[in-house]
Every structure is written in structure tokens, then in C-alpha cells.
């Protein structure tokens, strides 16, 4: 409990708690809609936003938000254009995002690569009070949106044609979902890092899908697993003096391996 005597650890726990709920909630929909790579794509694209911020000498979070929202719109357009092989859209944006980030970094003076490194790997223990507050607001917004739109999202995730016939605005909903995912990624990146943010979205969701039968239970399990993985990862990181993001990801992978093993034994 010594770790809680430090202010930075208390903030880290709070931020981890918020992210442990936000990330898997979005992650379940990403996994079921076969959009697992969307989180990766948007986190890569966000690097271009961060590099743009440094290039223009503006707040990188604001430029990242702008770039990620535009990318989410482009992504939805490409997804409808390449319906039969929709992963093409993620590949195009992922490589495009990285290319723009590298180009802008090379044009920026003032040690941009060092600053970008901070966003690439994140740092939950250097999180500021205002970042915790922003995550808190995002946490409340996503919970409210989830409670409000759970049913339309369920049908949209089941089958888009059925959703259209049921009267849902399929494209607008997909677009809004991509934008919300993009905003969440943008706000989590300074903490979790661009390389690991998709892991904390996708891994708890994947584990939960192996455990739960019903939609509600899968969502609930993904949040519980998110909390277990995030918080135990933070403790391990503190005790072993290892990078938090990487430690959290490895804890999730260990849980996934254990759950898969447990299921294999049970089905024998």
C-alpha cells in the first residue's frame, strides 16, 4: 500500500480505472464488427496529429482530435467503398498516418522525435490532474452513450442490412462510433501510448467474448477484466520497475492465455 502514498500513483490508479471501463466497452463493438484494427489505425493516425501539433506549434491534443475525426470520416467512406475487403481502408490510413507523422517530424525543429516518443509509449505515472479530469468526463459520456444506444448498436453489430431495414441510420451510427473511438484513443494516448492503446481496447474484449454467453455479460466481463488487467498491471509495473503500458498489455495477454487454456481443459 506504500504506492498509494504517492500522489502520482493515486492519479495513475484513477486514470487506469477510467480507461479500464472506456476501452473494453468500445473494444467489444470493435471486435464483433471485425474492426479490431480500427483502434490500431486511429492510434497510428493520431501520431500524425501529434506531429502536426508540434509542427504548427499548437496543442498536440487538439490537432490530434482534428486529424483523428477527419480520419474516422475517411475510414467510414473507404469502408463503404471497399465493402468486400474493408481491411484495405485500415491499411491505407495506417500507412498514410505514419508517413505523414514521419514527414512532419522531419520538418519540425525543436527535438520533435523525443516529444513524439512520449506519445508513442505513453506514461501513466506522469499524468496531470487535468488529464485525469478529461478522462473522467470521457468516462461519463461513454457510459451515458452506451446506456442510451446499447440496443441500436447491438442490431448494427449483428447485421447492417437488418439495422437499415429496422430504421436505423446505419452510416451515421458507424461514423459516430468511429469518431467516438477516435476521440477516446486521442485522450488515452498520452497515458497509454499509441502503440499500446489498441491492446487495452481489444484484449479485454477478446477475453470477455470467450467467457460470456450473452451480450450484457460480455460487456460486463470485459470491464471487470479491464479493471483487473489495468490495475494489477500498474502494481506489477510499480513493483518490478517496468514500463506501465507494456506491463499492462502483458498482463492482458497472460489472462487471455490462461482463459484459453482453461477452456481447452474444460472442453476435453
Amino acid at each position: 500500500m506504500e504506492m498509494f502514498s504517492f500522489e502520482f500513483m493515486r492519479k495513475a490508479w484513477l486514470a487506469a480505472g477510467f480507461m479500464a471501463v472506456i476501452a473494453p466497452m468500445l473494444g467489444v463493438f470493435l471486435v464483433v464488427r471485425r474492426q479490431s484494427l480500427l483502434a490500431d489505425t486511429l492510434s497510428h493516425v493520431s501520431l500524425a496529429g501529434i506531429a502536426l501539433g508540434f509542427f504548427l506549434n499548437q496543442n498536440p491534443t487538439m490537432t490530434t482530435l482534428l486529424v483523428v475525426i477527419i480520419s474516422a470520416v475517411v475510414l467510414e467512406y473507404l469502408r463503404t467503398m471497399y465493402q468486400s475487403y474493408s481491411e484495405v481502408s485500415t491499411a491505407i490510413l495506417m500507412s498514410g498516418g505514419l508517413a505523414v507523422a514521419l514527414l512532419l517530424m522531419s520538418l519540425t525543429k525543436d527535438n520533435a522525435p523525443m516529444k513524439i516518443n512520449q506519445y508513442l509509449f505513453g506514461s501513466i505515472i506522469t499524468i496531470s490532474q487535468s488529464q485525469v479530469k478529461v478522462l473522467g468526463v470521457l468516462f461519463v459520456i461513454i457510459i451515458l452513450l452506451f446506456l442510451l444506444f446499447k440496443r441500436p448498436m447491438y442490431v448494427l453489430t449483428f447485421d447492417e442490412d437488418t439495422a437499415h431495414v429496422d430504421g436505423l441510420p446505419v452510416h451515421r451510427m458507424s461514423l459516430l462510433f468511429n469518431i467516438i473511438t477516435g476521440v477516446a484513443i486521442t485522450l488515452m494516448i498520452p497515458i497509454a501510448g499509441a502503440l499500446l492503446v489498441s491492446a487495452i481496447m481489444i484484449l479485454p474484449a477478446t477475453i470477455a467474448m470467450n467467457l460470456g454467453k450473452s451480450f450484457n455479460r460480455v460487456i460486463f466481463s470485459s470491464i471487470v477484466i479491464g479493471l483487473i488487467g489495468m490495475l494489477s498491471g500498474l502494481v506489477f509495473s510499480y513493483q518490478l520497475n517496468t514500463p506501465p503500458g507494456a506491463t499492462i498489455t502483458l498482463v492482458f495477454i497472460a489472462i487471455l492465455a490462461l482463459v484459453s487454456l482453461g477452456q481447452k481443459i474444460r472442453h476435453k
Binding site: 467489444v28 471486435v31 464483433v32 471485425r34 442510451l148 440496443r151 441500436p152 447491438y154 442490431v155 453489430t157 449483428f158 447485421d159 442490412d161 437488418t162 437499415h164 431495414v165 429496422d166 430504421g167 470477455a208 467474448m209 460470456g212 454467453k213 450473452s214 451480450f215 450484457n216 460480455v218
Partner: protein, 226 residues
Amino acid sequence: MHYVQVENLTFYYGEEPVLEDISYHIDPGEFVILTGENGAAKSTLIRNTLGLLKPAAGKITLSKVNQENEPLSVGYIPQQIASFNAGFPSTVLELVQSGRFSRGKWFKPLDKRDHQHVERALKSVDMWNMRHKRVGELSGGQKQRICLARVFATDPDLFIFDEPTTGMDEKSRTQFYELLQHNAHDHGKAILMVTHEHEEVKQYADRHIHLVRKEDSEWRCFHLSS
């Protein structure tokens, strides 16, 4: 009153005309079958009718209201619906209950009447005992049946089915046709069903729309037989 009215519809895939000058209508209380050889763009016609594809020309009108002047409700079973994502995290009951959401329940709790519709629909396809199973654990035929149950639970005014009897045995198919006929004649529902089982289903259907290839076209283009 027509629930569906399609006038002079023409549809292209790229440069290639696929459907030309199609006109048809579906009225309440009738069971209509749509047939044609493989690749006759039957599904394309259905998808145009529902607004899932945009025609190059023509007018499609779906009635806004039913005979009771309430908003028209549509239930659709696409071809291969049963091949949906095997990992979809849902029980059979949740999936069939979702058929009630479009009946004004997107943001309201389901009531007793909704639960009755769901129970009746699941029992009508003999899947009530499987209601707590995860949908991914079901066989192809069982998935087909729960998708039908979802549509029956919606209790729509207009049913549109695209080859819904794929994978059903003869007895189940006959029961299904009887159920559709009962829904059309006794409950005033309008039904459009794409089928390859013309001979089998014709005794139950009220009308038959048949797509044939246009002989004077250089493309594989279809129109309605006269």
C-alpha cells in the same frame, strides 16, 4: 393500398445493366413469390426495394403506414443471414428480443406484450428450449430458424424473405409456407419471398413474379416475364 410499389426500376452494376424496367407491387394480405434462374438479380431487386441499393432509374415507394394508419413495420431476412458472425456475443433470446426494438422499443423497456411475441416466435420455429444458448453454438439450420423467429417476433406488416428455406427439410418448409399463408390471409400481412422452390410453394402463394433474361440485351440483364 400498396405496401410496396416499384415503378420502372433499372439497376446497373458499374456499366452493366442488371435489371431493366421492373414494375411490381405488393399489397396487404397477399403472399407473393419472386423467382428466376440463378444470378437473375432477385436479391438485387429486393435490396433495391428496401433502399439498400440505389437504382439508376425508377421509383420505389414503401408505404409509410399500414392499414391501421400506424407506421409500417418491415421484417427482412437477407440471403445467407444464418452465416452471421459466429462469435457474435448473444444468446438466442437476446437476438430474438432485438426484433422488438424497432417496434418503438429502442429506448424503452420491453413489456409483457413484447415478451409474448418473442416466446410465440421462438416456439413457432421450435427453438424455445434453446433460448439460453449462445448463437455461435448453433448449427446453420438452427441459426436460420432463430433469424426467422427474430422477424416473427417483430410482427411486421411487410415480410421480405430472400430464400429463407435454405437448409430446411421438406416438412419444415411446408409448415413455413402454411405459416406465411396464414399471416397473409388471416392477419393481413404482405409477404414477398424469393424462392427456388416454385413448384412446392405455388399452391400457397397468391401471386408469382418471375425474372427472365432479356433476349435482346448484350448484357446478362433481367426483366419481368409478361
